[in-house]
Symmetry: C2
Subunit: 243 residues, 2 copies
């Protein structure tokens, strides 16, 4: 069955409120996709990201935005969802030693499974996800071969795949970009990076949810802005760590 043009251009965009996924939304919009954003409250420490996600979805012209409460904190096993300390002040070399404690078991598989389900209900032919294999090689579920395996699974798991032979594509436009390249691309597309953060250990809402500036995610972000020759517009709790 031929796809109609609406199916071709309709996409579910996984949006965390962080730098990467917000850039992905801007890219998908620039490519003309009708974007249905999906965000999760999964018991992570950085729920402030979800408020930023809502603002960014509106600002970048998403068609709709669905928030799901999912129970990853009950499964645990990660510094983001359980009582495990978030590492601070690590070098990139240290970050690349094995799978970090901030890895959340199954997270991207679960996110993509929900995105696939919603795409099926919406008759959307595409999922966008902001994963990146270069800057942070420690996560098993951020690798190209993982994405291809998920596409193969989606082909078998869905009504669309069975009845119409339509394939759902998983698009990861940041997969092979450095953080510097991601930031430059987003700036060209008008992303407001002052309204994004990806901190693993932000302050509580009472303190404005300020990013820490020293966890792996903050350090990679700051390194990216420095390499791009740009000022990171985000305030941090630990400004002295500025690269």
């Amino acid at each position: 069955m031929a796809e109609n043009s609406e199916q071709v251009r309709r996409a579910v965009v996984l949006l965390s409120g962080g730098l990467d996924s917000t850039t992905v939304l801007a890219i998908a919009r620039a490519e003309g996709y009708e974007c249905h954003c999906l965000s999760f409250n999964y018991g992570q420490r950085q729920v402030v990201e979800l408020q930023l996600a809502r603002a960014n979805a509106l600002r970048l012209g998403a068609r709709q935005h669905l928030f799901l409460d999912i129970g990853l904190d009950k499964i645990g096993g990660s510094a983001l969802t359980a009582d495990i300390a978030v590492p601070k002040g690590r070098s990139v070399d240290e970050m690349e030693q094995g799978v970090p404690v901030t890895y959340v078991p199954g997270r991207n598989t679960i996110f993509l499974a929900y995105a696939m389900a919603w795409a099926e209900v919406l008759a959307a032919g595409h999922i966008f996800i902001g994963i990146n294999a270069l800057d942070y090689s420690g996560y098993p579920d951020c690798r190209p071969e993982f994405l291809r395996a998920f596409e193969q699974l989606a082909r078998l798991a869905t009504r669309a795949g069975v009845e119409a032979g339509r394939a759902l594509t998983v698009q990861a436009p940041l997969l092979h970009l450095t953080k510097k390249e991601i930031i430059l691309k987003g700036m060209a597309l008008g992303v407001d990076y002052g309204a994004t953060h990806s901190c693993y250990d932000p302050a509580g809402a009472a303190d404005g949810g300020l990013a820490c500036g020293a966890c792996d995610a903050c350090l990679l972000r700051r390194k990216g802005f420095a390499e791009a020759g740009l000022i990171d517009p985000l305030p941090y709790r630990h400004q002295e760590k500025e690269a």
Copy 2:
């Protein structure tokens, strides 16, 4: 890295409280697995199943039982999770025409993704799932090729797969059995089928959550008991439909 015997024999068992998954738990226990049961409240109509799941997990000697609230009702697209009528009184031929409205988009993919995440945290090497390809061929995510694709995905998605080359197996011992064969196997293992039901449209809790007796799931169950020459111990709202 060699697996130790505990990893080999530790399993996450997806348990709905229905006939199939309860039989799977009994099989896994009979095979000597340490069983960690996982049940979902996904906005389905048949929440009474979850109470039955709890009782069956205790009775069959599960090591622990985790209940997760997940937001599938917000995604909708199925008679089980949205305001779509559950078909009644259909013949098996009618049931086998295409994908039924009781199909929940992405459900088994999402269930397996959570099971994979928990298995990783528990260092369990196996997932058990009660899917069946024979009696009900309409669900795309009940096919052997779907399960194999999920195993391949899990190999790439997890820390265990990356660091140790350990594969998670997905075991579906009912995959090629008829309902009659499933029931006979469960009876031999001491399953109390009076405390299981899989009805798509049960009465409310105030009415004891009685199974309807006429939806596809009830009809297939009743047909299975009849073919096995056994009395189904479950009371139904529509006893006149008895095969």
